[in-house]
């Protein structure tokens, strides 16, 4: 504490420099991640998995059966949901599996999402129904396309795998209505956590150890596209991903793509792009495929998507891949735990783990905390003291320096000495009530958009969004004007900024441990909040700050996301509301509870002259 005491005593904490440095080091650190020196090659941690070390037998005969099922699926394309589920259930039942069905209804933004899932359980000949593996195919994939081959393959695997006597874990074949709500309804009900609008499951098996979703609309393909982002940016264990990549590479000789990087040359640029795309997905925290819903339940899950039309691979390849991965999962002795849960993949064979990448987000989050501490010290600085500081004079005598390190209450055996010092008060009394009230009120106000956007009807979303954007831009000047009768001082605004940055730093560093990408993205976009010099700024500087902050607002970010996906803003908000209601997505809580209040507080600083505050 000695060092801290000294800092507090001297009140010459160069926080701006430290802040700038931490941002630069943070960003530089991040940009260094894709290099060979800082990333690592992937490797299998859990040896029990033994990926790709079994001979696979899914072959010619199964291919014929697959084609038969493919015809059946095509015939059901326009059938009603009940008829479809009946037929699929009948096929599964004929293959000797136990079949269950489940209906569900969800409502979000005034839209109703209804459907029915059907699934069957292969009881393990060598197990006791305590563990299970899930093979899942949505009737429609995440893009809403009919998952013809995927469903047919799941059916034929049900028939094929049933013949083997080596399973020690049950295998569940799940065909959901879609790839968004269906898997969530099923996995919620599997753990008895379903909402009232979702039916419970008639048959269950044991603890699910892993899940593989199949997104396979067309028979022939060129490569696998592996999707692994879970809801709220949670990821499956890296071993599962490694197993699949190993099987695809060594056994099947199929390319694996990540994050829609179809031509990956393993250059620095491509690695960075893969990583960045992964981070965008993680930051948004939405479901990217049928597997995403499994991950919050601590089930490691991935989606394999077959990409490239008219490719040279067909159902035999993917059938054998799935057979092989089921064999690997079957080998698991305990839940996935060996490998990493926090990683960024930049290439199918390269990754960085949390220990390497976390400092970059933490440094950015810490920059806010450092500025908050600096501003706090500044707010307690007496005015005349500031002027004296400009004329350098010896601040602390050597004896004081040495003595400061000793704590006062450590013992009672000694004499007390008092060294004469400046006669002025140590610290100016801080008026905390007003700044604390304002910062807390702004944060509380964040619940308003959160509630509105999660509960409004579809049609109202877009107009309310623009109205809210205008409201957010007008709120800071209004707050500053409203402060005028209270005669705020420069200290009030310094403290508002200090507390708001303290909270931002606090939330972001906490968030960095749960969802690194979201914390990093919000942290980067909030960096200007640290550097706005609102009290001493001239009019042009002020306009510049206002413009920069205005451009980096949460609302602009939403527009950008809409651009990125090529969708109107209303659809993004609908997706968010759907995520909140169905998936339990938390992204909007962070945006409106953390980011938006910090943004408003920064703008209040820029508009501070409206309150009649004295400039220094």
């Amino acid at each position: 504490m000695g060092a801290l005491t000294q800092l507090l005593r001297r009140r010459k904490f160069p926080y701006r420099i430290v802040s700038v440095l931490s941002v630069f080091v943070g960003v530089y650190w991040f940009l260094q991640l894709p290099t060979n020196e800082h990333s690592r090659g992937t490797y299998m941690s859990e040896n029990a998995l033994m990926p790709g070390q079994v001979h696979t037998y899914f072959g010619g005969t199964e291919s014929m059966i697959f084609r038969a099922y493919h015809h059946e699926v095509e015939a059901l394309e326009n059938a009603t949901s009940t008829r479809r589920v009946e037929m699929l259930g009948k096929i599964m039942k004929d293959n000797g599996l136990e079949v269950g069905r489940q209906k569900y209804t969800y409502e979000a933004s005034g839209e109703v999402y209804k459907g029915e899932n059907v699934y069957s359980i292969l009881q393990a000949p060598r197990g006791d129904a305590t563990e299970a593996i899930v093979l899942c195919a949505g009737w429609r994939n995440a893009e809403g396309e009919l998952n013809k081959a995927g469903v047919a393959l799941t059916l034929s695997l049900g028939r094929y795998l049933k013949r083997w006597s080596l399973w020690s874990k049950d295998i569940i074949f799940l065909i959901t209505e879609d790839s968004r709500a269906g898997p969530q309804a099923w996995v919620d009900a599997y753990h008895d956590m379903q909402s009232t609008s979702v039916e419970p499951l008639p048959v269950k098996s044991g603890v699910i150890q892993g899940a593989v979703a199949i997104d396979y609309p067309h028979k022939n393909f060129r490569a696998y596209h592996l999707m692994y982002d879970g809801i709220n940016g949670q990821l499956p264990n890296l071993d599962l991903i490694n197993s699949l990549i190993k099987i695809a590479d060594n056994q099947m000789h199929v390319d694996v793509k990540l994050q829609e990087m179809w031509d990956h040359t393993d250059s620095y640029k491509d690695r960075l792009r893969t990583m960045a795309r992964g981070m965008v997905n993680q930051a948004l925290g939405h479901s990217s495929g049928a597997h995403s819903s499994f991950i919050p339940y601590h089930i490691d899950a991935i989606t394999i998507q077959m990409t490239g039309e008219n490719g040279w691979y067909n159902e035999v390849t993917i059938g054998r891949t799935l057979e092989s991965i089921c064999r690997s999962l079957n080998n698991l002795l305990e839940h996935f735990h060996q490998s990493f849960f926090f990683y960024l993949l930049m290439h199918p064979h390269r990754f960085v783990s949390i220990g390497t990448y976390l400092p970059s987000a933490m440094l950015i989050a810490i920059n806010f905390t450092i500025t908050a501490i600096g501003l706090w010290l500044e707010s307690g600085q007496p005015k005349d003291k500031k002027e004296k500081d400009k004329n350098p004079k010896p601040e602390i005598t050597e004896s004081e320096k040495a003595a400061l390190d000793t704590s006062v209450e450590s013992s009672n055996k000694t004499t007390e000495i008092a060294t004469p010092s400046n006669d002025e008060p140590l610290i100016v009394e801080r008026q905390l009530l007003l700044p604390v009230t304002i910062v807390v009120a702004i944060h509380a106000l964040g619940f308003l958009p959160l509630y509105l956007f999660n509960n409004l009807d579809k049609a109202a979303l877009t107009p309310v969004f623009y109205a809210f954007t205008v409201f957010s831009s007008l709120l800071p000047p209004v707050i500053s004007l409203a402060l005028r009768p209270l005669a705020p001082t420069a200290q009030t605004f310094t403290l508002i900024k200090s507390f708001s940055l303290l909270l931002l730093g606090l939330f972001l560093s906490t968030l960095a441990t749960i969802n690194f990408s979201l914390s990093f993205v919000i942290g980067l976009l909030s960096v200007p909040f640290t550097f706005t010099r609102f009290l001493k700024a001239g009019i042009f500087e002020r306009i510049l700050f206002w413009g920069v902050i205005q451009v980096l607002s949460p609302m602009m970010a939403l527009e950008l996301v809409a651009k990125y996906w090529g969708l109107p803003v209303g659809d993004i908000l609908m997706e968010a509301a759907f995520g909140w209601k169905v998936w339990g997505m938390w992204t909007q809580v962070v945006v409106f509870g953390v980011w938006w209040p910090a943004w408003i507080a920064a703008q209040v600083g820029v508009w501070s002259p409206l309150s009649g505050v004295q400039r220094d």
């Binding site: 801290l4 501490i373 006062v408 004469p420 749960i514």
Partner: protein, 417 residues
């Protein structure tokens, strides 16, 4: 009680009512939070105990229920009305606030028989003290979770307010109740008795302090004995409850995580060392009592507060509810805040710990991507922040005493070597 106090209390009751009845799932979420409900205060376990008690099975037979028998008797009279339960908890918080207001109004914190601070004009009015206690999120969360630490806090505050209010016998009895409910308040007996003595008007003061203390100690022990006897009768003439309540506080059989430092330590420990470290940990709490009481003889109220802070940090099953009463009482000492050195640092650390705690618990228990060390690390940070706060306020208080003694030294740096 003035208008502001009434307003704050109304507001606090409104907040609690809204949280209880407008968000029906919130109490169920909070009751499962390890930071709020410990094995010795959890509402879930109380319900289990009540169920067994109503069906004529001894609740202390199994290893689930560790709370005082009188709580069972009390809640049984309420039938199983959920609303009545909730109102009782709100009432307990209001009662705590009323006690705090009484303590604040008496002004004992800054000027008493033995000591008057030169900064006494800086004290907060009582409504602010009440607001700090009632609107503190920790207090609110503890109330909503219906953890039984709420009652302990109420009785502790009641004891202090009785001591301040010149009713030493009532104070001793309230203290007996507090010790009966959760054992550790027994540690604040010496300073509370001294506070009772100091607050008596000079014409009523017994000539000999030792005689006064002896009488009050006997009152305390008598009341405690009475409560034990009552419990003995309630539980059908069995002393089984002693082992399941105080035995649990002392021997730590339940290692459910909490914000304290014990659970992890005793999970990791080899069994042969268990007894030794149990003794060490318990004695560690005990050793502060003498020192703090003697050093702060002129301000026994602060000795009580410091001891409450120390127990809230180092006791066997602490929760944030313990800290909430410490914060509430600390706000009586507003006048020493400017003398504190690490206010910002301590508060930031507390905030960080309060946010990272749930986050790391989530990573450990739900996401499965972290492990027990994550949460334990944060409980260490939490305890560090508490310790810093205790040490810093203690420094500020001593500095204030010293400045009162030697006014010429005001605002100057002082170092003890």
């Amino acid at each position: 009680m003035n208008r502001e106090c009434a307003l704050i209390i109304t507001l606090a009751v409104a907040v609690r009512l809204v949280l209880f009845f407008a968000f029906p799932s919130l109490p169920e979420v909070l009751v499962n939070r390890v930071e709020i409900s410990t094995p010795v205060t959890s509402f879930k376990r109380l319900q289990e105990g009540l169920f067994l008690y109503r069906h004529g099975i001894s609740p202390y037979d199994g290893g689930v229920f560790h709370q005082a028998p009188l709580l069972l008797a009390f809640f049984t009279t309420l039938q199983s009305s959920d609303i009545a339960f909730k109102l009782v908890y709100i009432a307990a918080d209001v009662l705590s606030a009323l006690s705090l207001i009484q303590i604040a109004n008496s002004g004992v914190a800054a000027s008493s028989a033995l000591y008057t601070s030169t900064r006494k004009d800086m004290q907060w009015p009582s409504w602010r003290v009440a607001a700090v206690f009632l609107l503190n999120p920790f207090t609110v969360a503890t109330c909503i979770s219906r953890s039984t630490i709420v009652f302990t806090n109420t009785v502790v505050l009641l004891a202090i307010s009785k001591a301040v209010g010149k009713k030493p016998a009532a104070a001793s009895m309230a203290l007996a109740m507090a010790s009966y409910l959760s054992l550790y308040p027994a540690l604040i007996v010496p300073p509370t008795l001294l506070l009772s003595y100091d607050c008596l008007p000079s014409n009523k003061k017994p000539a000999s302090i030792s005689k006064f203390l002896a009488v009050q100690t006997i009152t305390y022990l008598g009341a405690l004995g009475g409560l034990m006897g009552l419990s003995f009768l309630i539980t059908d003439g069995s002393w089984e409850f002693l082992r399941s309540t105080y035995g649990v506080h002392l021997l730590l059989p339940d290692l459910t995580p909490n914000v304290g430092l014990w659970w992890y330590f005793f999970i990791e420990m080899f069994d042969s060392f268990r007894e030794f470290f149990l003794c060490t940990f318990q004695l560690h709490l005990l050793i502060y009592v003498g020192g703090v009481t003697i050093r702060l003889r002129r301000q026994p109220l602060f000795a009580i507060i410091t001891l409450l802070g120390i127990t809230a940090t180092f006791k066997s099953y602490p929760s944030i509810g313990d800290m909430s009463v410490y914060f509430g009482l600390l706000s009586l000492y507003r006048h020493i805040f400017p003398l504190m050195r690490y206010t910002f640092f301590t508060i930031s650390t507390l905030l960080y710990a309060s946010l990272l705690g749930p986050a790391f618990y989530y990573l450990w228990i739900y996401a499965g991507s972290g492990n027990a060390n994550f949460f334990y690390a944060i409980t260490l940070v939490w305890s560090l922040a508490n310790t810093l706060l205790i040490v810093d306020t203690l420094f500020a208080l001593l500095r204030d005493e010293w400045e009162t003694e030697r006014p010429e030294m005001k605002g100057k740096f002082v170092v003890q070597i």
